[in-house]
Symmetry: D2
Subunit: 300 residues, 4 copies
Amino acid sequence: MDRILLTSMNIGFVGLGNMGRGMARNLLRAGHQLTVYNRTRAKAEELIRDGASVAESPAEAAQNAEAVLTMLADDQAVEETVFGENGIASTLKQGAAHISNSTLSVGCARRLASEHQKRGQGYISAPVFGRPDAAENKKLLVIVAGSDDLVTKFHPVFEAIGRQTYAIGTEPWQANAVKISGNFMIATLIETFGEAFAMLRKAQVNHALFHEIITDLFGSPVYKNYGKLIVDEQFDPAGFALKLGFKDTRLALELAQEFNAPLPIASLLRDHYLDALAHGQEKLDWASLAKASARKAALE
Amino acid sequence: MDRILLTSMNIGFVGLGNMGRGMARNLLRAGHQLTVYNRTRAKAEELIRDGASVAESPAEAAQNAEAVLTMLADDQAVEETVFGENGIASTLKQGAAHISNSTLSVGCARRLASEHQKRGQGYISAPVFGRPDAAENKKLLVIVAGSDDLVTKFHPVFEAIGRQTYAIGTEPWQANAVKISGNFMIATLIETFGEAFAMLRKAQVNHALFHEIITDLFGSPVYKNYGKLIVDEQFDPAGFALKLGFKDTRLALELAQEFNAPLPIASLLRDHYLDALAHGQEKLDWASLAKASARKAALE
Amino acid sequence: MDRILLTSMNIGFVGLGNMGRGMARNLLRAGHQLTVYNRTRAKAEELIRDGASVAESPAEAAQNAEAVLTMLADDQAVEETVFGENGIASTLKQGAAHISNSTLSVGCARRLASEHQKRGQGYISAPVFGRPDAAENKKLLVIVAGSDDLVTKFHPVFEAIGRQTYAIGTEPWQANAVKISGNFMIATLIETFGEAFAMLRKAQVNHALFHEIITDLFGSPVYKNYGKLIVDEQFDPAGFALKLGFKDTRLALELAQEFNAPLPIASLLRDHYLDALAHGQEKLDWASLAKASARKAALE
Amino acid sequence: MDRILLTSMNIGFVGLGNMGRGMARNLLRAGHQLTVYNRTRAKAEELIRDGASVAESPAEAAQNAEAVLTMLADDQAVEETVFGENGIASTLKQGAAHISNSTLSVGCARRLASEHQKRGQGYISAPVFGRPDAAENKKLLVIVAGSDDLVTKFHPVFEAIGRQTYAIGTEPWQANAVKISGNFMIATLIETFGEAFAMLRKAQVNHALFHEIITDLFGSPVYKNYGKLIVDEQFDPAGFALKLGFKDTRLALELAQEFNAPLPIASLLRDHYLDALAHGQEKLDWASLAKASARKAALE
């Protein structure tokens, strides 16, 4: 009990989507005081039952908080929530911090860091790896970057939502660069399965058994799970929508551009995403990228 | 002891390289009678101490065998060993089988199957996944394809050399297609690390820590090991030489061509292999493919 | 004389770079009244001698004009010149038109069309193909898009600056799409030469003679000129800087993205541009893209 | 008349396809004595009327010839015709030469050179650029490589079939390298049109007018003709079949591989050819490569 008392904080939480709800619940379980905000209030109800308070705006969620976490779709959503009317920046106290868990561009992370600093507010980028069930079960990997003081101070928050915290640097955008690079690696895995499966199907080799072999070879749940989605062609409902995967590949290409580092597999992914979008797949799971390879082999 | 007596076979083994030695030793450990042949006899010495007999030619290794295994560099080496002067095909008994563990083209596998059949000899493709230490420690994955009768009969042989056997079909070339596709997936992983690391190094983000995060995220020893080779730039001596990796990518492209299934990542790999070869890397580990990405980002 | 009297117009011209100066001079030669503006006034001097008046701001260049032409570096430069302080939009008369000759994004062209329309001003996109000597010698191709009325009315202006006018549609952005696509085709030509020359040089085949053959085969001055720049490695000073070529490839990728049409050669160009930028080539001619292919073949 | 008498030679000609017939006719027109052979004799009839003799085998076509020309589909056809039963090599006189006009691999050219030399026979690679109408009208470009003596001696032969002769070197395979590289450049042009047209069609920009603009810009009949085939979707009957175009891209990739020079656009072309073949386009014109881009943009 002591530990909880010592580390209990007033925390705001904005964005109760599939990921955010699990993360918010784990903050409550860790003993923190939570004030939540979501654009559609209905999603906040179950958290109220778990002990959260509800705010009427991001500003209200932030006003008494030591830290306010945001888990939102993209750059634009975060910037509106922070700097728009009744935004977080308007009420967050000096010395308190905004912790962004979203997958953002490095440019957006830099703007957030700079704008919060002007207001005497702290900012940490803390994107997470994991799907909604990992969020619910405190299995996320939390990648954090920000000033050492802030990262140390809010360590209990990161520990509350994930199974492992990685501090990557003192510039917040560095955590975003890592998250973007990690999603690039997962997208490449999906593409690779798509290509190999299409070839084996054309050759009439058992691609489901190939998937089992690869799962054994790599020993990775990520390979197991994504491979299975593609073998089963189970793309709807999406765990992570293709249009979001496309966004992340574009973020990778932007990052590559900023630092003059070619990323040819990401270029190839982008073209396959456009093919997928041209064929109406934006709301399917990003694993459906594999359909582009199947089409090119005349399998669809 | 009973089990061993029941399944003990006379086995020939040709090709005592880094992989073959471990495999041969495990056949001895499983209680089989082994007659080995290697072009340079010195490599056979330690196996003699372990109980193997030594043959003076592939033909001699095959002549009393129920099965003769070959673990050689490429199509040409296997075809010479089987059909050349004093080759396996000249002495292998009717009803006995040639089991090829090498990574071969599907075309070569089809020629072997057809030629052995004309002579009343059996043929099984049984390529393996795993590096030399896995061969030594009986941790290989063994992918087998051939007639059901033969695959059943020689199951104890596969079990003796690997930790898991996968029977993929009745046409021997199907096992080669799976092996080629699996190596395509590993090569893609190497390339992906190469690109992501180059970008992160340009961005001055800690790419070694990124590697740890990815290892945690994917939970795969393959990611762990290859990523570490690249982070440490430890490419010499090669565990698997770049020129062999290049051969396997070409096999993947041939397979893609036979079945009219585009494989754009393999095309990209091929171009990066050519870049690597142009820069003298043929004897380095295939993980050194990552150096091409580093060069393009002006990191070398 | 009659013809000139009938079609003589009051024209503003903003942007007297290498291209703009020749275009402005040809408008004077055709008998139009010209008021020019350039950020650095020195470049206007020679046009004063040719009969032009000089304005102190874009607004002044536009205020009495029936049409104001802009020939500037990129979206941002045009938007500042039009909508910034003392910008064109602040003085351009109702019924008069802004004719943009720059290579702009289709998004920028749409914003210009919409904003001018709100003010009762006309807008035409009229990008041009040709290098500075073509601008000087009235050899440009002028691609125009806008309402039929406006395009008809200003036909004498297009005729004055180019050797051929192509009206591509009634939506201004369509002309920009054509210009972007055309530059994509030229950039591809450069890349193709880069790859073929690198291969032939490695093979010790006379690539300069190959260039002569290709010039003969295609019968195109574009092939002749760009091939020669690469054979001679004459990249400095730039006729068209690599960083501008990179911008145009990005515009092509944006266009591809908007309409969900994959453009894989443009993706590949982008990666080679990043390689070129990583190696410090931003101010060299865009033909120096060929150096990336040479580096990959270990020729540099 | 003097000139003809001085340079008139006994010439054999093997391969009277669409290209060969026109070339043979021009040799007759130039005053040479011609003995022709074709696998299906019917195609020789019209040449008999023009003054040619007919042979019953390649050997017979070669036996009294100073030079025998071959214009055949691929490596295999040429090697059979030269070294097979009743092949050219069996009768060609010492000091006489085989002139191969086919598009061959550099490896095949080297074998031909070496085998002919062993027999005291000369060998010249003399591939040509041009379609059947260019062959008929003596408009071909003839790329020749071989020993200076031979190239000088047979100059009148090259002049008889083409409008321009280019001597690229003393090693016969060098001419093949140039031909392969030239076809790579044409295939890239086709691909570029395919991509740009697909994008503009999605954007509802007039791609036929874009083609006119590009034709004007590049000033090249090659651009004009291929672009028109694609705009009109006129792919059947094939002027040059897609499966032959695919062969030439593979030759380019082989060449790139031999000299360790990456050729990423050729890799991309190869993948698009596989897509085209998967969709049954092998007998359509190679300009139909553009259909792959249209499919990816969901236009088909």
